[in-house]
Protein backbone atom coordinates (compact mmCIF):
# COMPACT_ATOMS: atom_id res chain seq x y z
CA UNK A 1 0.00 0.00 0.00
CA UNK A 2 2.87 2.38 0.81
CA UNK A 3 4.57 2.15 -2.57
CA UNK A 4 1.14 2.67 -4.13
CA UNK A 5 0.78 5.92 -2.15
CA UNK A 6 4.23 7.09 -3.20
CA UNK A 7 3.30 6.75 -6.88
CA UNK A 8 0.53 9.28 -6.24
CA UNK A 9 3.14 11.86 -5.16
CA UNK A 10 5.22 11.34 -8.25
CA UNK A 11 3.08 10.59 -11.30
CA UNK A 12 4.96 9.60 -14.45
CA UNK A 13 5.04 12.22 -17.19
CA UNK A 14 3.77 10.18 -20.11
CA UNK A 15 1.12 7.54 -19.70
CA UNK A 16 0.75 4.77 -22.23
CA UNK A 17 -2.45 2.78 -22.49
CA UNK A 18 -0.67 -0.56 -22.25
CA UNK A 19 -3.25 -3.02 -20.97
CA UNK A 20 -1.09 -4.57 -18.25
CA UNK A 21 -2.28 -4.57 -14.65
CA UNK A 22 0.67 -2.48 -13.54
CA UNK A 23 0.03 0.18 -16.14
CA UNK A 24 -3.61 0.38 -15.11
CA UNK A 25 -2.61 1.01 -11.49
CA UNK A 26 -0.26 3.80 -12.56
CA UNK A 27 -2.83 5.41 -14.84
CA UNK A 28 -5.47 5.25 -12.15
CA UNK A 29 -3.48 6.81 -9.35
CA UNK A 30 -2.56 10.35 -10.45
CA UNK A 31 -4.59 13.34 -9.32
CA UNK A 32 -7.69 11.89 -7.67
CA UNK A 33 -10.34 14.60 -7.63
CA UNK A 34 -11.84 15.98 -4.42
CA UNK A 35 -15.43 15.20 -3.42
CA UNK A 36 -16.49 18.84 -3.71
CA UNK A 37 -15.26 18.90 -7.32
CA UNK A 38 -17.12 15.65 -8.03
CA UNK A 39 -20.39 17.10 -6.66
CA UNK A 40 -19.93 20.33 -8.64
CA UNK A 41 -19.26 18.34 -11.83
CA UNK A 42 -22.36 16.22 -11.13
CA UNK A 43 -24.44 19.44 -11.06
CA UNK A 44 -22.85 20.55 -14.37
CA UNK A 45 -23.63 17.12 -15.91
CA UNK A 46 -27.25 17.31 -14.75
CA UNK A 47 -27.66 20.83 -16.19
CA UNK A 48 -26.19 19.82 -19.58
CA UNK A 49 -28.73 16.99 -19.75
CA UNK A 50 -31.74 19.06 -18.66
CA UNK A 51 -31.02 22.10 -20.87
CA UNK A 52 -29.95 19.86 -23.79
CA UNK A 53 -33.19 17.86 -23.64
CA UNK A 54 -35.28 21.01 -23.28
CA UNK A 55 -33.58 22.65 -26.27
CA UNK A 56 -33.96 19.50 -28.39
CA UNK A 57 -37.63 19.06 -27.46
CA UNK A 58 -38.32 22.77 -28.09
CA UNK A 59 -36.68 22.62 -31.52
CA UNK A 60 -38.44 19.39 -32.54
CA UNK A 61 -41.82 20.81 -31.56
CA UNK A 62 -41.39 23.75 -33.91
CA UNK A 63 -40.46 21.66 -36.96
CA UNK A 64 -43.01 20.30 -39.37
CA UNK A 65 -43.19 16.50 -39.35
CA UNK A 66 -39.69 14.97 -39.56
CA UNK A 67 -40.88 11.68 -41.02
CA UNK A 68 -38.71 8.60 -41.34
CA UNK A 69 -36.41 9.66 -44.20
CA UNK A 70 -32.84 10.71 -43.34
CA UNK A 71 -33.25 14.03 -45.15
CA UNK A 72 -35.88 14.96 -42.57
CA UNK A 73 -33.35 14.40 -39.78
CA UNK A 74 -30.65 16.44 -41.53
CA UNK A 75 -33.19 19.23 -42.01
CA UNK A 76 -34.14 19.02 -38.31
CA UNK A 77 -30.47 19.42 -37.31
CA UNK A 78 -30.34 22.77 -39.12
CA UNK A 79 -32.77 24.15 -36.58
CA UNK A 80 -30.66 26.15 -34.06
CA UNK A 81 -32.50 24.71 -31.02
CA UNK A 82 -32.00 21.14 -32.24
CA UNK A 83 -28.31 21.77 -33.04
CA UNK A 84 -27.77 23.40 -29.65
CA UNK A 85 -29.51 20.45 -27.96
CA UNK A 86 -27.27 17.92 -29.75
CA UNK A 87 -24.09 19.83 -28.81
CA UNK A 88 -25.21 20.00 -25.16
CA UNK A 89 -26.01 16.27 -25.09
CA UNK A 90 -22.56 15.42 -26.51
CA UNK A 91 -21.04 17.60 -23.75
CA UNK A 92 -23.32 15.78 -21.28
CA UNK A 93 -21.95 12.41 -22.38
CA UNK A 94 -18.31 13.51 -22.13
CA UNK A 95 -18.60 15.25 -18.75
CA UNK A 96 -20.55 12.27 -17.42
CA UNK A 97 -17.68 9.98 -18.47
CA UNK A 98 -15.19 12.27 -16.72
CA UNK A 99 -17.38 12.17 -13.60
CA UNK A 100 -17.43 8.36 -13.71
CA UNK A 101 -13.62 8.47 -13.71
CA UNK A 102 -13.69 10.56 -10.51
CA UNK A 103 -16.34 8.82 -8.40
CA UNK A 104 -18.21 5.56 -7.69
CA UNK A 105 -21.26 4.66 -9.78
CA UNK A 106 -23.32 4.26 -6.58
CA UNK A 107 -22.25 7.79 -5.60
CA UNK A 108 -22.99 9.33 -8.99
CA UNK A 109 -26.45 7.78 -9.54
CA UNK A 110 -28.35 9.43 -6.65
CA UNK A 111 -26.75 12.77 -7.56
CA UNK A 112 -27.97 12.36 -11.15
CA UNK A 113 -31.51 12.20 -9.71
CA UNK A 114 -31.17 15.95 -9.04
CA UNK A 115 -32.06 16.09 -12.74
CA UNK A 116 -35.66 15.21 -11.83
CA UNK A 117 -35.74 18.26 -9.54
CA UNK A 118 -34.38 20.48 -12.32
CA UNK A 119 -36.99 18.97 -14.68
CA UNK A 120 -39.80 19.70 -12.19
CA UNK A 121 -38.61 23.30 -11.77
CA UNK A 122 -38.20 23.81 -15.54
CA UNK A 123 -41.62 22.21 -16.10
CA UNK A 124 -43.25 24.52 -13.57
CA UNK A 125 -41.59 27.82 -14.42
CA UNK A 126 -40.60 27.51 -18.11
CA UNK A 127 -43.31 25.26 -19.55
CA UNK A 128 -45.96 26.32 -16.97
CA UNK A 129 -47.00 22.74 -16.12
CA UNK A 130 -48.92 21.82 -12.99
CA UNK A 131 -46.71 20.38 -10.24
CA UNK A 132 -48.73 18.98 -7.33
CA UNK A 133 -47.97 18.43 -3.65
CA UNK A 134 -46.79 14.76 -3.99
CA UNK A 135 -44.38 15.88 -6.72
CA UNK A 136 -42.88 18.62 -4.56
CA UNK A 137 -42.59 16.09 -1.70
CA UNK A 138 -40.82 13.77 -4.17
CA UNK A 139 -38.30 16.47 -5.11
CA UNK A 140 -37.74 17.08 -1.38
CA UNK A 141 -37.00 13.34 -0.85
CA UNK A 142 -34.61 13.27 -3.82
CA UNK A 143 -32.80 16.32 -2.47
CA UNK A 144 -32.53 14.79 1.02
CA UNK A 145 -31.31 11.46 -0.38
CA UNK A 146 -28.71 13.16 -2.59
CA UNK A 147 -27.40 15.19 0.35
CA UNK A 148 -27.14 11.97 2.43
CA UNK A 149 -25.24 10.16 -0.34
CA UNK A 150 -23.08 13.28 -0.78
CA UNK A 151 -21.83 12.86 2.80
CA UNK A 152 -20.35 9.40 2.00
CA UNK A 153 -16.86 8.93 0.57
CA UNK A 154 -17.03 9.36 -3.22
CA UNK A 155 -14.39 6.81 -4.15
CA UNK A 156 -14.15 3.25 -2.82
CA UNK A 157 -10.76 1.85 -1.92
CA UNK A 158 -8.95 5.14 -1.24
Amino acid sequence: MSQYASSVQDPPKSIGLAPTFEAIQVVRSPAPQSKLKAILLAIVVVCFNAVGNLSLAWGMKHISDVGVNPIGYVHAMLNPFVACGIVLLVLWLLTRMALMSWADLSFVLPLMAIGYIVAAILGRFVLHEQVGLPQWFGTFLIFGGSVLVGTTHHRSGE
Binding site: L94, F107, P110, G138, G157
Partner: protein, 126 residues
Amino acid sequence: MTEFHEVTKWLLLSVIVISTVLGDLLQSYEMKRSGAQKVTARGLGRLLRIIASRKFLLLSIFCMAISFFAFMALLQKEPLSFAVPASAATFVCETILARFVLNETVGKRRTAGALLVLGGVVLLSR
Protein backbone atom coordinates in the same frame (compact mmCIF):
# COMPACT_ATOMS: atom_id res chain seq x y z
CA MET B 1 -54.01 -7.57 -30.50
CA THR B 2 -54.15 -6.20 -26.94
CA GLU B 3 -52.10 -9.14 -25.72
CA PHE B 4 -49.48 -8.39 -28.35
CA HIS B 5 -49.46 -4.77 -27.24
CA GLU B 6 -49.05 -5.81 -23.60
CA VAL B 7 -46.10 -8.08 -24.45
CA THR B 8 -44.32 -5.39 -26.52
CA LYS B 9 -44.75 -2.92 -23.68
CA TRP B 10 -43.01 -5.11 -21.11
CA LEU B 11 -40.42 -6.23 -23.66
CA LEU B 12 -39.48 -2.61 -24.36
CA LEU B 13 -39.32 -1.93 -20.62
CA SER B 14 -36.88 -4.83 -20.08
CA VAL B 15 -34.76 -3.72 -23.04
CA ILE B 16 -34.54 -0.23 -21.52
CA VAL B 17 -33.56 -1.53 -18.06
CA ILE B 18 -31.00 -4.09 -19.29
CA SER B 19 -29.30 -1.78 -21.79
CA THR B 20 -29.12 1.15 -19.34
CA VAL B 21 -27.70 -1.02 -16.54
CA LEU B 22 -25.16 -2.67 -18.84
CA GLY B 23 -24.14 0.66 -20.39
CA ASP B 24 -23.59 2.39 -17.05
CA LEU B 25 -21.70 -0.54 -15.50
CA LEU B 26 -19.35 -0.79 -18.49
CA GLN B 27 -18.83 2.96 -18.51
CA SER B 28 -18.09 3.16 -14.80
CA TYR B 29 -15.71 0.19 -15.01
CA GLU B 30 -13.76 1.61 -17.95
CA MET B 31 -13.62 5.17 -16.65
CA LYS B 32 -12.32 4.12 -13.23
CA ARG B 33 -9.61 2.16 -15.03
CA SER B 34 -8.62 5.13 -17.17
CA GLY B 35 -7.91 7.42 -14.22
CA ALA B 36 -9.33 10.86 -13.31
CA GLN B 37 -9.99 12.72 -16.57
CA LYS B 38 -9.92 16.49 -16.90
CA VAL B 39 -12.98 18.48 -18.01
CA THR B 40 -11.07 21.16 -19.88
CA ALA B 41 -11.55 21.41 -23.67
CA ARG B 42 -8.39 19.34 -24.09
CA GLY B 43 -9.52 16.77 -21.55
CA LEU B 44 -12.84 16.33 -23.39
CA GLY B 45 -10.95 15.81 -26.66
CA ARG B 46 -8.87 13.17 -24.92
CA LEU B 47 -12.09 11.50 -23.75
CA LEU B 48 -13.22 11.22 -27.38
CA ARG B 49 -9.97 9.43 -28.18
CA ILE B 50 -10.43 7.11 -25.19
CA ILE B 51 -13.93 6.19 -26.46
CA ALA B 52 -12.47 5.23 -29.83
CA SER B 53 -9.78 3.05 -28.26
CA ARG B 54 -11.83 1.12 -25.69
CA LYS B 55 -14.21 -1.61 -26.82
CA PHE B 56 -16.24 -1.52 -23.60
CA LEU B 57 -16.82 2.24 -23.90
CA LEU B 58 -18.05 1.87 -27.47
CA LEU B 59 -20.32 -0.93 -26.30
CA SER B 60 -21.51 1.26 -23.42
CA ILE B 61 -22.47 4.09 -25.79
CA PHE B 62 -24.18 1.58 -28.08
CA CYS B 63 -26.21 0.39 -25.05
CA MET B 64 -27.16 3.99 -24.20
CA ALA B 65 -28.36 4.48 -27.79
CA ILE B 66 -30.49 1.31 -27.65
CA SER B 67 -31.95 2.42 -24.33
CA PHE B 68 -32.73 5.87 -25.79
CA PHE B 69 -34.54 4.53 -28.87
CA ALA B 70 -36.42 1.90 -26.85
CA PHE B 71 -37.50 4.71 -24.50
CA MET B 72 -38.73 6.80 -27.44
CA ALA B 73 -40.64 3.79 -28.80
CA LEU B 74 -42.24 3.21 -25.38
CA LEU B 75 -43.30 6.86 -25.09
CA GLN B 76 -45.14 6.69 -28.41
CA LYS B 77 -47.57 4.16 -26.92
CA GLU B 78 -47.51 4.77 -23.19
CA PRO B 79 -47.81 7.87 -20.96
CA LEU B 80 -44.61 9.18 -19.39
CA SER B 81 -45.60 7.77 -15.99
CA PHE B 82 -45.27 4.22 -17.35
CA ALA B 83 -41.55 4.86 -17.82
CA VAL B 84 -41.09 5.23 -14.06
CA PRO B 85 -40.76 1.50 -13.26
CA ALA B 86 -37.91 1.56 -15.80
CA SER B 87 -35.96 4.32 -14.07
CA ALA B 88 -36.71 2.88 -10.61
CA ALA B 89 -35.65 -0.67 -11.57
CA THR B 90 -32.51 0.68 -13.28
CA PHE B 91 -31.59 2.65 -10.20
CA VAL B 92 -31.98 -0.35 -7.85
CA CYS B 93 -30.18 -2.84 -10.16
CA GLU B 94 -27.26 -0.49 -10.77
CA THR B 95 -26.71 0.24 -7.07
CA ILE B 96 -26.78 -3.48 -6.22
CA LEU B 97 -24.46 -4.39 -9.11
CA ALA B 98 -22.11 -1.49 -8.25
CA ARG B 99 -21.71 -3.13 -4.85
CA PHE B 100 -21.19 -6.70 -6.05
CA VAL B 101 -19.67 -6.36 -9.54
CA LEU B 102 -17.70 -3.10 -9.28
CA ASN B 103 -16.88 -3.78 -5.58
CA GLU B 104 -17.92 -0.31 -4.44
CA THR B 105 -18.40 0.41 -0.75
CA VAL B 106 -22.15 0.85 -0.28
CA GLY B 107 -22.60 1.54 3.44
CA LYS B 108 -25.73 2.29 5.47
CA ARG B 109 -25.75 5.99 4.70
CA ARG B 110 -25.40 5.51 0.94
CA THR B 111 -28.14 2.84 0.97
CA ALA B 112 -30.45 5.11 2.99
CA GLY B 113 -29.78 8.00 0.60
CA ALA B 114 -30.42 5.82 -2.44
CA LEU B 115 -33.73 4.61 -0.94
CA LEU B 116 -34.85 8.21 -0.27
CA VAL B 117 -34.02 9.13 -3.87
CA LEU B 118 -35.93 6.07 -5.11
CA GLY B 119 -39.01 7.06 -3.07
CA GLY B 120 -38.74 10.59 -4.46
CA VAL B 121 -38.52 9.38 -8.08
CA VAL B 122 -41.65 7.23 -7.63
CA LEU B 123 -43.59 10.08 -5.95
CA LEU B 124 -42.50 12.62 -8.55
CA SER B 125 -44.07 10.72 -11.42
CA ARG B 126 -47.48 10.00 -9.91
